[in-house]
């Protein structure tokens, strides 16, 4: 019996953190999450970053250039013409379309990459860098102001306040304006790009809370937009926010399956799911491998099963995303099918009533019938054994592969 039990083996591949960070499946998950995050943000700006009329200078749309532009205009109207410190080519101000976002996204990516690399360094170095950044920020904010004020008082042999002086050379508080403008500009950028910043930090810094922040802030933006573009609000406050049409139009996209208004929303929801699932999965799997004891990290069985889990997750991400998109599109088209089916019984009172209610309700009818379709799809698993069919296919593929070997 004793000889039946083999001791744990050691393979060439291991599950150490350093190896995991370079593992293609983990990188694939992280890159998938990153691309979906960027795409989701761009798609959101295309949908929610537009004002009602071109003439309006500002509206609460998801477009940072609008706010920066208004501040810039205000500063240039001051007696001493001021301007925002971060140049326009870096913030995307002045560009059109998606060009407004590429450069800030690129800069954010570089900063997050630096932050992630810093996270891999020793705690001492991390603390030193953090303290250095904080110190530099404080020095930039108040350093020049304090030095000038002190020198001014020393050379004039007099104590005075740094503002409200007749001699303008003594109003040293003006030295604070430049740094404060920078921080305001940074704050605005961080506010608009919060989903991207926290999302990237979450994906590459392996933080579940930051991914939750990214999703949370995205939902808040969507909720705010929905609220501000609500007819009741729009009729009370003039916000110039471009509201989405109330009713779904004719299905002309994806081979006549979905209406053009639905496409971006559907893509945003799919990208949000991909980002959320890939981001969380990376952390979940790496955490599991990290917590394994040393002997298990080297055990080929653990490595093989870890690979299995990752490969299946990647496959299912592709498959599930495709099917969710398809099912949602079909679901939103389901009312047409019901109307067509009902029209078979044309002439009867019942068919007329159903047809009328679906057509009259329009969006409501579409959504309710969509939910019925989704419930039908969920129940389909009791009729068609999907896991058995996929397992049969998998087994067949493996047998063919084994025979060829």
């Amino acid at each position: 019996m004793a000889e039946d039990v083999a001791i744990q083996g050691e393979g060439l591949e291991t599950l150490h953190l350093k190896v995991l960070r370079r593992k293609w499946q983990i990188l694939a998950l992280q890159i998938t999450a990153t691309i979906s995050l960027f795409s989701m943000y761009i798609m959101m700006t295309r949908t929610y970053g537009v004002c009602d009329s071109v003439e309006s200078s500002w509206c609460p749309a998801l477009d940072h250039t609008l706010t920066l532009g208004v501040i810039e205009q205000f500063l240039q109207g001051q007696p001493e013409a001021l301007s925002l410190p971060i140049p326009d080519w870096m913030t995307g101000v002045g560009n059109l379309g998606d060009g407004r976002y590429w450069m800030p996204l690129f800069v954010i990516s570089i900063l997050v990459a630096g932050w992630t690399i810093l996270g891999l360094q020793t705690a001492k170095l991390r603390r030193q860098v953090n303290m250095g950044i904080l110190g530099a920020a404080l020095l930039y904010l108040a350093g020049l102001f304090v030095i000038n004020w002190l020198i001014g008082m020393i050379f004039s042999f007099e104590l005075y306040l740094p503002f409200g002086q007749i001699d303008t050379n003594r109003n040293h508080v003006e030295y604070l304006v430049g740094p404060l403008l920078l921080y305001i500009q940074l704050f605005i950028l961080v506010f608009y790009f919060l989903p991207v910043i926290s999302g990237l930090l979450g994906i590459w810094g392996m933080s579940k809370s930051k991914i939750s922040w990214a999703i949370g802030s995205t939902i808040i933006y969507l909720g705010l937009h929905a609220l501000l573009s609500y007819e009741g609000v729009r009729s009370t406050i003039e916000l110039n926010l471009n509201a989405l049409p109330v009713q779904i139009g004719e299905a002309t996209e994806w081979g006549g399956l979905v209406a053009p208004e639905i496409v971006p929303l559907l893509i945003i929801s799919l990208l949000m799911m991909i980002f959320l699932e890939s981001g969380f999965a990376t952390i979940r799997y790496v955490e599991y491998a990290f917590k394994l004891p040393e002997s298990c990290k080297k055990d080929p069985e653990y490595v093989k099963q870890f690979d299995n889990i990752l490969n299946i997750h990647l496959q299912q991400t592709v498959g599930v995303t495709f099917f969710v998109g398809l099912v949602t599109a079909l679901a939103l088209k389901f009312d047409d099918l019901i109307v067509d089916l009902v029209s078979v019984f044309e002439g009867s009172q019942w068919s007329e009533q159903v047809k009328e209610s679906l057509e009259l309700q329009l969006t409501y009818g579409t959504v309710i019938s969509a939910l019925i379709f989704v419930i039908f799809i969920a129940g389909l698993r009791y009729i068609i054994p999907w896991p058995r069919i996929s397992g049969l296919i998998e087994k067949g593929i493996r047998q063919i592969r084994d025979q060829s070997v």
Partner: protein, 417 residues
């Protein structure tokens, strides 16, 4: 079962649809439908826990402190993928993982097999059971999960350690205390020839003397001399009071080690060994020799737990008819909390038994877990010394066994009256 995430997603999806309908906002409705569709599609790919598990142990019986190698072979016999399957092999809390892990996350394809290997250290004697195997399966996106267990258990016995004591016995004041196997001039099971006699029904065929049968025409059988051996009686005190000390170091633990070592020593010498364990009742294993008896003794000692308060005299009285005349009796007891110790030992010695008392010092074991004031300690020690001296006065050989002293060394310090 829906996970928290699935519940939030489902509730969120339905809420978005409802709020969207109230606000005439179809973007919310589309998001809601997409969320619900995500749940619906994922419900197709929930896993399963119909797996076959085979557990192999490196040994069914092992000694305290030994390592146990465990291997779990998990096979997915179905046509479906298990999806994410967490496998946790339940191990007794007394055992410590030395290497590997009794937990694994797998995703087994149809017909696929994997193995979980780990090593357990068994620091405490006892009868244990490894298993059942807890299982949790879920889909890749952690939306639906189900928990179950495979009722597959493996029993094992952890024997007390057996120490080498031969050297100690040789060096003791009685170099060879008890004789090994000797022949008696009486018929019985043995190896040497005794006499011939007529066959009686029931005699085994292998003892028929075929030459004598050929010569006389009558069935004659060989009779052998009975191999007489010394019957050694070991009495182990397993009363509740013997738990004083730590889990690993207490009078009962060291007592079981001593009893196992003595049994091993005498059985190797082909003596017969009897074991009596007394706690709330008396468990008696009649004298016998051989590997089977050795196994019985170790198994019995493995299952000993401190309980009850049976007095020693009740034990000696109950066993008085079973004690062989003049046989040595080992009593392994802290001798605490029992007023009948002295009369019991006096009776045993009076009946001609050679009584050896191996007494773990309970006062010193107690010191391992609680601080005893110096004066109290001195008084308790003095009381104990007086008790041991009194016992020695009745002709018993008394060994005062301190916690940090090895068994072989302790056996050297036999105190004679």
């Amino acid at each position: 079962m829906w996970t928290r995430k699935a519940s939030i997603l489902g509730a969120g999806g339905v809420s978005l649809v409802l709020v969207g309908m109230m606000m005439s906002n179809f973007q919310m409705m589309v998001f809601g439908v997409a969320f619900v569709a995500f749940l619906a599609v994922n419900s197709w790919i929930t896993g399963h826990g119909d797996i076959q598990v085979v557990r192999t142990l490196s040994a069914d019986n092992l000694y305290k402190g030994d390592d146990l190698y465990v291997e779990l072979e998990i096979t997915n016999p179905s046509w479906r993928r298990t999806q994410q399957l967490e496998i946790y092999d339940n191990i007794p809390h007394e055992m410590k993982l030395r290497s590997g892990l009794n937990y694994m996350r797998v995703n087994l394809g149809p017909g696929e097999t994997t193995r979980v290997r780990y090593v357990l250290r068994c620091p405490l004697r006892g009868h244990y059971s490894i298993g059942p195997i807890s299982i949790r399966y879920r889909d890749s996106f952690n939306l639906f999960s189900q928990e179950m267990y495979v009722d597959h258990r493996s029993d094992l016995i952890v024997f007390p350690q057996v120490r080498e004591i031969e050297e100690a016995m040789v060096r003791s004041r009685t170099p060879k205390m008890y004789t090994g196997a000797t022949t008696l001039r009486t018929p019985g099971p043995g190896t040497e020839f005794f006499s011939l006699r007529e066959y009686v029904p029931g005699d085994p065929f292998k003892i028929i003397n075929w030459k004598a049968f050929a010569r006389t025409g009558q069935l004659i059988v060989n009779e052998k001399c009975r191999d007489a051996v010394t019957d050694v009686f070991i009495l182990v005190d397993s009363r509740d009071i013997s738990r004083i000390g730590t889990v690993l170091k207490n009078p009962l633990e060291v007592g079981t080690v001593a009893a196992a070592s003595l049994a091993s020593y005498f059985i190797k010498r082909r003596d017969s060994v009897a074991l009596a364990v007394y706690d709330e009742r008396l468990s008696f294993l009649p004298p016998d020799t051989g590997d089977k008896q050795y196994f019985k003794i170790l198994s019995s000692l493995a299952g000993v737990a401190p309980k009850g308060a049976m007095p020693l005299q009740a034990v000696t009285n109950a066993l008085s008819s079973r004690f062989s005349r003049g046989s040595p009796v080992f009593i392994i007891s802290a001798l605490e909390g029992d007023g009948t110790t002295i009369p019991a030992i006096r009776d045993l010695a009076g009946r001609g038994h050679e009584v050896i008392i191996l007494s773990p010092s309970s006062v010193d074991f107690e010191r391992l877990v609680s601080r005893i004031p110096r004066t109290s300690y001195e008084v308790l020690k003095l009381e104990r010394q007086n008790r041991l001296t009194a016992l020695a006065g009745f002709g018993a050989r008394v060994i005062d066994w301190m916690p940090d002293v090895e068994l072989s060394q302790a056996l050297l310090q036999v105190k004679m009256g």
